[in-house]
């Protein structure tokens, strides 16, 4: 199954960093996100958009994981040649991840 079936997501940006939240629609699915959405898996999924490092933060009270991805914005919001300089659309890529 796909991540979008059980979670929603929003992307923010700071410099050359993307912050991507992944929030379970229902709390019961949160442990599954924690178990499967490891830093390594997310890094592998985003490597081809430039990510070099992923840090994951857990916020159980919100049923949410917050991912911080480095170097995803082509050198930074202000100088990137990308069409989506802010990487706002990266939540859409995140939600395409496969889950067991």
């Amino acid at each position: 199954m796909k991540l979008y079936q059980i979670a929603h997501s929003r992307t923010g940006d700071k410099g050359n960093i993307s912050t991507i939240s992944v929030i379970a629609y229902i709390q019961e699915d949160y442990p599954r996100l924690c178990e499967q959405l490891t830093e390594d898996k997310v890094l592998a999924w985003f490597t081809k958009v430039g990510a070099t490092k992923v840090k994951r933060y857990e916020v159980p009270s919100l049923g949410a994981l917050n991912f911080v991805l480095e170097n995803t914005l082509g050198g930074g919001v202000t100088r990137s040649l990308a069409l989506d300089k802010h990487g706002k659309s990266l939540s859409g890529l995140m939600l395409e991840m496969d889950l067991r």
């Binding site: 929603h8 410099g15 960093i17 912050t19 929030i23 081809k48 202000t78 100088r79």
Partner: protein
């Protein structure tokens, strides 16, 4: 229990105005905050100010205030905004002019100054830039602006001195709420736990419609009613730090646990350490609870001592971008777009166009996720749009690249349409940290008692 009500009036420089007016008229609010300053906006505003010392504030300031100020006669709401951008004093004077035009000469308008640190920025040339790790001195000759993110204290002080409207430059976004809340409850800026709760409030308001169903809708998964009439939030902050976020009845949008959770984490890196000039806020134990009727209770934000450093956004000239786009449709469209890409690359080579970086995208295939697009399921395309962009130090090179894409009309593959080319002079932003004590804020008044 004492409480105050704060409305959002804008979440970015060019935001809609109707929801702000509605919040003033029907919201029974004490304050309204207009957050209008992105990282780079201030650098561009500094450029404008240099060409004319009377401008350099938000382009929509007059448009907004012409509509807001007449309402203040019947609805005495205090206005807090960072629309001052590079020139808070000129902005305050413009607002006072509009107030007088509306017979509200008694309004006291405070300009918060001191965030502009351009004159001392070269003292920090050995500091690393947060984006690249390189030293600030490497961009020294190209710097055009430097503004420190200042906190809520200046806003609180202006309110304590009787301001009706407070205009700042580069204040931190959540501080626009921290300022009035700390003032109203008479709390100390050493009360970090309470400050953390004010940051949660500010963070929920600063993007306006992003907490009421904007940047959220996903048909079939996250449906939002009447998105064309999206409301901006109103927040009640209670003395104990509890927060209730709501939106006015008969407006579009939606406010529920999902919208609040998305916004709480928006642009946050470590939820346990959300750094602001006032406090390091801790959202890691925050809870949300739907009260029904588009109302959500938010509790449990905390805070720790601030870092003692302020982030400075340094604007600098960073060369040029030249870009162009052209579309192909129907059978074999992808192959024709790929041929066009090949032609452009060859052309740039033949013309010896000097660039530092070249990027090509196929809009419809890989413009958002690049090579990672291959990880997604393939879909049939009816059309595709080639985009070519270069980064260069030379204006002529940027112009040439843009023109070469347009030339694909006549000189490229069959059926190219909708070609467009453009070049821009890039103003980039680098961030450095400087000691808090190096930045002194002040308040200057427009109108009212000096």
């Amino acid at each position: 229990m004492k409480s105050i009500r704060i409305a959002a009036g804008a979440g970015f420089a060019g935001d809609r105005i109707e929801p702000a007016l509605d919040n003033i008229i029907r919201g029974n609010v004490d304050y309204i905050i207009f957050e209008c300053l992105a990282e780079r906006t201030i650098a561009l505003a500094q450029k404008e100010k240099r060409s004319n010392p009377d401008i350099g504030y938000n382009h929509l300031l007059e448009y907004r205030m012409d509509k807001v100020i007449p309402l203040l006669k019947d609805h005495p709401v205090k206005v807090i905004t960072n629309m001052g951008a590079a020139n808070p004093l000129a902005a305050a004077m413009k607002i006072y002019e509009i107030a007088c035009k509306n017979g509200l000469n008694q309004l006291k308008i405070a300009a918060v100054i001191g965030d502009d640190v351009l004159s001392i920025i070269n003292n920090y040339s050995q500091m690393p830039m947060m984006e690249t790790g390189g030293k600030l001195e490497t961009i020294r000759d190209n710097i055009i602006s430097a503004n420190a993110y200042i906190g809520g204290q200046a806003i609180s002080k202006a309110l304590a001195e009787g301001a009706d409207i407070v205009v700042t430059g580069r204040s931190a976004d959540p501080s626009l709420a921290t300022g009035p809340i700390m003032h109203e409850f008479g709390r100390s800026y050493y009360d970090y736990e309470f400050l953390g709760k004010t940051v949660a409030a500010g963070h929920l308001l600063e993007c306006a419609g992003q907490v009421t169903g904007g940047y959220f809708a996903d048909p079939g998964y996250k449906d939002v009613p009447d998105l064309w009439n999206l409301a901006f939030p109103i927040l009640t902050f209670f003395e104990n730090g509890n927060i209730v976020v709501e939106k006015l009845p008969d407006t579009g949008g939606i406010l529920n646990n999902l919208t609040v959770k998305e916004q709480l984490l928006y642009e946050v890196q470590d939820p346990m350490n959300y750094i602001t000039p006032d406090v390091v806020a801790d959202f890691s134990n925050i809870t949300v609870e739907e009260l029904g009727d588009n109302k959500v209770l938010v509790r449990g934000a905390f805070g720790k001592r601030k870092t003692g450093s302020l982030k400075v956004s340094v604007g600098y000239l960073d060369g040029f971008i030249g870009e162009g786009e052209i579309s192909y449709g129907g059978h074999n469209c992808v192959a024709r777009a790929q041929l066009a890409e090949e032609v452009i690359k060859k052309r740039l080579e033949i013309l010896k166009v000097d660039y530092k970086e070249l990027r090509t995208d196929m809009i419809g295939i890989n413009s958002l996720y690049g090579a990672a697009s291959a990880q997604l399921e393939k879909v049939e395309l009816n059309e595709v749009r080639l985009r070519v962009s270069i980064r260069t130090d030379h204006k002529e090179a940027a112009e040439t690249a843009a023109r070469e894409v347009e030339s694909l009309y006549v000189n490229g593959p069959a059926g190219g349409g909708g070609a467009r080319g453009a070049f821009t002079n890039i103003v980039s932003v680098a961030s450095v940290l400087i000691p808090e004590e190096d930045v002194r804020f002040g308040i200057t008044w427009a109108g009212g008692p000096a």
